[in-house]
Subunit: 382 residues, 2 copies
């Protein structure tokens, strides 16, 4: 193995583009001075197309979970009943946050690897009209499932007055997201996935309906009080000391996304997903998710005739290639390849080429190059 | 194409390892202070194993050509007759330097893509006993030929009193080199190839026999006077302002090489060469060099049924993958893939995977994945 080479293909944190690394290496500046004001002013409007919203996208210094907690403490108060749709480990996290705040959370579990059926949400809300907020996950990182948010939003809004809160951490920036058009009330993402930054920023926007709830909400909160972020950000400021180097990097990330074009960014992610899926299909290693539930940002694979952990170990050892394992009850059952953010079709070919060697090494009978060919065919026909 | 992604696979400059980038980003220090002295003291002995010598390996701030000129102006004076073995563009460069100094250079041309036959050198020296220095190239970057330096040294020393000067720019650090054992009198390399640094340093060592010639040499020289470098370096100093950030980087490069182990570094380069060669053989795209003349650091490919420049353009456009074209009369005839320095077998798989798509795009009839499979088989059987 080549020392100092990391092939980081977990579903976040993801590799940082060199120009973003350079941007983050800028010297610190005063966070209350004119330069930071200008930086925030330049960044603010450019986050909106990524969320698909005309609302202000607020930037909080904290990791993704702080964004999820922000969504909870700003929209719900003790005694409220909410519905948490759990399609994997990150849906589960919403229930843990609700538990910590003594929120009466109805948990709706979906088999890991499957997307939630919007009809079941509709039915649940009709049966439980007291539900005030529905928490759901756009891309469930732990399984590579992309939930049908547009249809979920329809189900929620056509059959209840509940707000729809969406955890978009592992896909927003890599997958088309239309917050306003679809009717998402609160959308959260993090910096360390398709946003190509280290962890440390979380982004959150709220609909007008959500803002009414947020304003009226009695839940105690201080650092995560969204009103403070909105009131400051509208004046190109932040309520608390911001993670400045991440803001320097964010400015450059937005430039890269604008240079490529959002539509091309989304197409690249879909292409990388298709390449990955076709490769493993060709190699006869089963995918965890069906075509319709698959996320363009992460692919989970569920081997039947070898141990996922053995393959992970061998590719790490041979190539410095990191892919993720399973979480919770999926531990040891699956492995997950991240293909989001600063990741190209050529990187996917590299992962597959290395994986084929890994598969041979763990004793799987494959035709070498077969997965690569399948991925190449997807690329050429795209 | 992903913005900000460079897949740099030309035969130098090569990608810089991230830890080396970080090392080079250290703040400047005084170049006459104790810290620089310590740095030079730490670096000096660690260059010797790479050259395979017990001599001091001198560090000059300048690019590879300044090292070649150093070799000329320190060993030869006007009126001297020398033999320049030209196996490609860089052998040719030695003749240009000799011309600039009115040196009587006999030029011995070898067909590009072939290595020099040591017997022909022996014959030439027997026919021209007045030759004082033989200039030759270890790896000829322009063709990917590795000349048989050990056998050339035998031919030179057994049949003449001439010194043997070797340009090792595009392979020293990636290919086993035994300066003392083989009898190389002056060996030169640069920083931007297997040494994993940006261009800006050149490394040069001389045998005892060579030092006698250097001391006596009447040729005018100032910046490139090797005696100045030796006298200063033995005191952990430099005669002129050194390229300090490159020295910071060099310290880290040596650490990486030591961590991997020189034998493993050499084995990795041979493996990458074999993977590349087998891949193109399997794809039925002809290699320029024979097995025996091939360099572990760069592979030249000479397509017959498509244009090399078309393929170079398409892989650059699709993947940001840079491979080199031909030089001089080989321009448009060949393309060259660098696989040296900070380059791993997984990187070679990426290049081949991307190249296969490029080959399809330029209309070459290939079986996708066939080259990848061949490279993977080499890896697994290594």
């Amino acid at each position: 193995m080549l020392p100092d080479q990391q092939l980081l293909r977990i579903p976040g944190p993801t590799p940082i583009p060199p120009s973003v690394q350079r941007a983050m290496a800028q010297p610190m500046i005063g966070h209350r001075g004119g330069e930071t004001k200008e930086l925030l002013h330049a960044i603010r409007p450019r986050l909106r197309p990524i969320f698909g919203t005309d609302q202000e996208v607020l930037v909080i210094t904290g990791s993704g979970t702080s964004g999820l907690e922000t969504a909870v403490v700003n929209t719900v108060q003790p005694g409220d009943e909410v519905l948490v749709v759990v399609t994997g480990a990150f849906g589960d996290r919403f229930t843990k946050i609700c538990d910590a705040y003594q929120i009466n959370a109805h948990r709706y579990d979906v088999e890991w690897g499957k997307a939630v059926d919007p009809n079941s949400i509709k039915q649940y809300l009709q049966d439980h009209p007291q539900i005030k907020v529905v928490f759901t996950t756009y891309c469930e990182t732990s399984t590579g499932v992309l939930n049908p948010i547009k249809e979920i939003a329809e189900a929620v809004h056509n059959h209840s007055d509940a707000l729809l809160v969406v955890d978009g951490v592992s896909c927003v920036g890599g997958v088309e997201t239309k917050m306003d058009e679809w009717g998402i009330d609160v959308l959260v993402t993090g910096s360390q996935k398709a946003m190509m930054l280290p962890a440390g920023l979380t982004f959150i926007a709220a609909s007008n309906r959500a803002w009414k709830v947020i304003e009226a909400n009695q839940q105690s909160r201080f650092y995560l009080d969204l009103r403070k972020y909105r009131d400051n950000q509208l004046k190109d400021s932040t309520p608390f000391t911001p993670g400045l180097s991440l803001l320097f990097g964010l400015d450059q990330v937005l430039l890269l996304i604008e240079e490529e074009g959002l539509a091309n960014v989304y197409a690249r992610h879909r292409l990388m997903m298709e390449m990955t899926r076709e490769a493993f299909r060709a190699l006869k290693v089963p995918l965890l998710t069906s075509e319709i539930a698959a996320s363009p940002t992460v692919t989970a694979i569920k081997p039947e005739d070898f141990k996922a952990e053995d393959l992970r170990k061998v590719v790490k050892q041979e190539f410095g290639l990191s892919v993720a394992g399973g979480q919770q009850h999926m531990k040891g059952e699956i492995f997950r390849i991240g293909h989001m953010g600063y990741c190209s079709p050529a990187d996917v070919l590299q992962v597959i080429g290395a994986m084929e060697i890994g598969l041979k090494k763990v004793g799987k009978e494959i035709e070498l190059g077969r997965g690569t060919r399948a991925a190449q065919e997807v690329y050429l026909n795209y």
